[in-house]
Symmetry: C2
Subunit: 383 residues, 2 copies
């Protein structure tokens, strides 16, 4: 196992009815900005539950944070926060709202140009406003990590940044808040969590036995509950397990001390940028093709995946690996998530390759050896 | 799954050569007390490595913290800390040293009688000195949790206390620091971690799918590496996995949102108090008998344990459960840990029952229904 640091100070408040407990976690005299997205929290009652919990605190709202949250939108929230002397942020939403709020938290305290936060990948962040989260969609894991991805529309660029300063102080995970989501959103969440796990698990072995078992346990749980969580929106057991899996999938634990891949995400981001395909759906397209392309380099872990996650014990090693990858694809398809570019109307991979070249994504994967030629083979198998 | 809070702000610095990194984690002007146990860290070089890392900071040492650390010893450290205006504690050792240091951290800041910390089970702790850990023995998990157990010799009582104020700020987990431990100590560590897990796993199902998978993964890892970790003291892979399992076994994660038992610990503590049997060995004695006694109440989880952890698929349900418990006992025995009271010279259970009655341990277990009559049946099966 590699040497590693593990640090995650976010306090999770898990379960039905926990929104009221934010009252104990936010200073009584805080001046709070509540950030959210398209406004579904207004119609489904979550916003009023949050406002009730905030009581007599000074509160202002900032709505309209879009999927793939943009610098252009968020910088308005930064102005508003400064203008109102806001000293606590409360993100109510899914990964986009939380990621966006992390940027607002850092930019509101930043002394230079806020774009430097993105350019430095977060290393220039010295302080940030405290941030709380009320999660309404299980997918990205942003509620319990220190990362965010922000889009600069002006230069058509998606940038990730990382800083311990933007770990949420707390995250309310109330599974009932996901009951009103569409099947489309839940399916995306399952796929997103699944691929977060494989990016940290399907690499090469460094004898991280605990990390492997935990990753496998999370994947097994997704296989066990994914389809029924979709079919039964108000099944608390299913939705609570899905929520906890998605959080654990990307809170730093299963990736500590092991190699990480992230090539599927690298290529996937370009598919979103070019064709506006949902992030999770881009992962469902790329992952099976990527695993097949890398079946030699990832052989031992893929075989372990076949055996432990899919319980495949028939056939020779290569056949088992192929079966496991094919079953992965079929799982995504059963969730209603198409796994071929053609299903999204994309038939030409050249624009994608150009985009990868432009963004210098020419050394991806845990071995940094996925160059454009390899990506081309992967993309051909995505058609 | 039950509603739960999960919070664990301890920063883990994992791997060979990490002691030097404490320099970045302790203020440069800190006045540091280094706390340790019997002094093996003096002969094996760990203390000098720690002192080198502390550089020019003002440092005083407090050695001699005993296994089952005592109030009587620790209160001397509290006096010394006050006398020298200590503002940072560094525990170098295993669970006893860390538990003891947590008490010193809290008592050094406490305004009343320090015994009130124990009487209140920690609820009276309002502040504590910051505490760092250099772990030298994998077993108790104290390096990454907020609990401690302290013995008051004067009144022959062991008391646990809990406070978020005593979470270590950081914990260095360098597996090579366990190379010089005896087989006896390593075997105890494996058993201790194993039973920490079963206390949180072998109860009744609340559909905590992630918690179950994680607990099973940790148990499987202990079965996989326990004996070889004993046999190959300088095998880094084995010792590093053992270290990470033991930490994850009791850092709050696998117990979040699920019922917990702790009856084996309850009875085990009395065996240590009466007969000075090592803590881990008391657990190895009690656990198999307890599981057999509770095989109806724990049926579903025991069957799951048999299948997923032990891979037992033959026989009817009851036979599988019995096989799993028997295999657990044999695992402990293979580690060189006897699992019968008679092996420790104890043939009369009456003093143990009296002790349980005196300490009002008459409603143990996840259902609080293990009364003295049940404990008597368990103890008879421990002989």
């Amino acid at each position: 196992m590699f040497n590693f640091d593990f640090y995650n100070p976010t306090r999770v408040l898990f379960g039905q009815g926990r929104i009221k407990d934010i009252d104990r976690r936010i200073p009584a005299d805080a001046r709070v900005m509540v950030l959210y997205g398209g406004g579904s929290i207004k119609t489904n009652g979550t916003l009023s539950e949050v406002l009730t919990a905030l009581g007599t605190r000074h509160v202002i709202e900032f709505g309209g944070i879009e999927p793939n949250p943009s610098y252009e939108t968020l910088i308005q929230a930064v102005s508003l926060a400064k203008q109102h002397n806001i000293n606590f942020l409360l993100a109510v939403g899914g990964g986009s709202v939380i990621d966006g709020s992390k940027f607002v938290a850092a930019a509101s305290c930043y002394q230079g140009e806020a774009t430097e936060i993105l350019q430095s990948r977060g290393s220039k962040i010295k302080q940030a406003l405290p941030l709380g989260v009320v999660l309404t969609l299980s997918a990205t894991g942003s509620e319990m990590n220190s990362a965010a991805v922000i889009t600069q529309k002006a230069i058509k660029t998606k940038s990730a940044f990382f800083s311990e300063r933007v770990f949420p102080a707390f995250a309310v995970l109330d599974p009932t808040k996901t009951y009103t989501l569409s099947k489309h959103q839940i399916a995306n969440g399952v796929v997103d969590a699944f691929v977060h796990i494989t990016e940290q698990y399907l690499t090469y072995s460094v004898n991280g036995l605990v990390q492997d078992r935990f990753a496998e346990g999370l994947l097994q749980t997704l296989l066990e509950i994914g389809e029924t969580a979709l079919a039964e929106p108000e099944n608390y057991d299913l939705r609570s397990n899905l929520m906890w899996v998605a959080t654990m999938a990307l809170n730093g634990l299963i990736g500590a001390g092991v190699p990480q891949d992230w090539s599927t995400h690298g290529i996937g981001h370009e598919l979103t940028a070019l064709y506006d395909i949902d992030h999770a759906r881009t992962l469902a397209i790329v992952l099976p093709a990527m695993l097949m392309e890398r079946k030699e380099q990832k052989h031992a872990k893929l075989l372990q995946y076949a055996q432990r996650v899919w319980n495949i014990h028939e056939g020779d090693d290569t056949e088992r690996v192929i079966q496991a990858v094919e079953k992965t694809r079929l799982f995504f398809e059963r969730l209603g998530v198409p796994t071929r570019l053609s299903a999204y109307g994309v038939t030409d991979i050249q624009p994608i390759l150009s985009q990868l070249a432009n963004h210098q994504l020419t050394a991806l994967g845990e071995h940094r050896d996925i160059n454009l030629a390899v990506s081309e083979r992967v993309l051909l198998n995505c058609l």
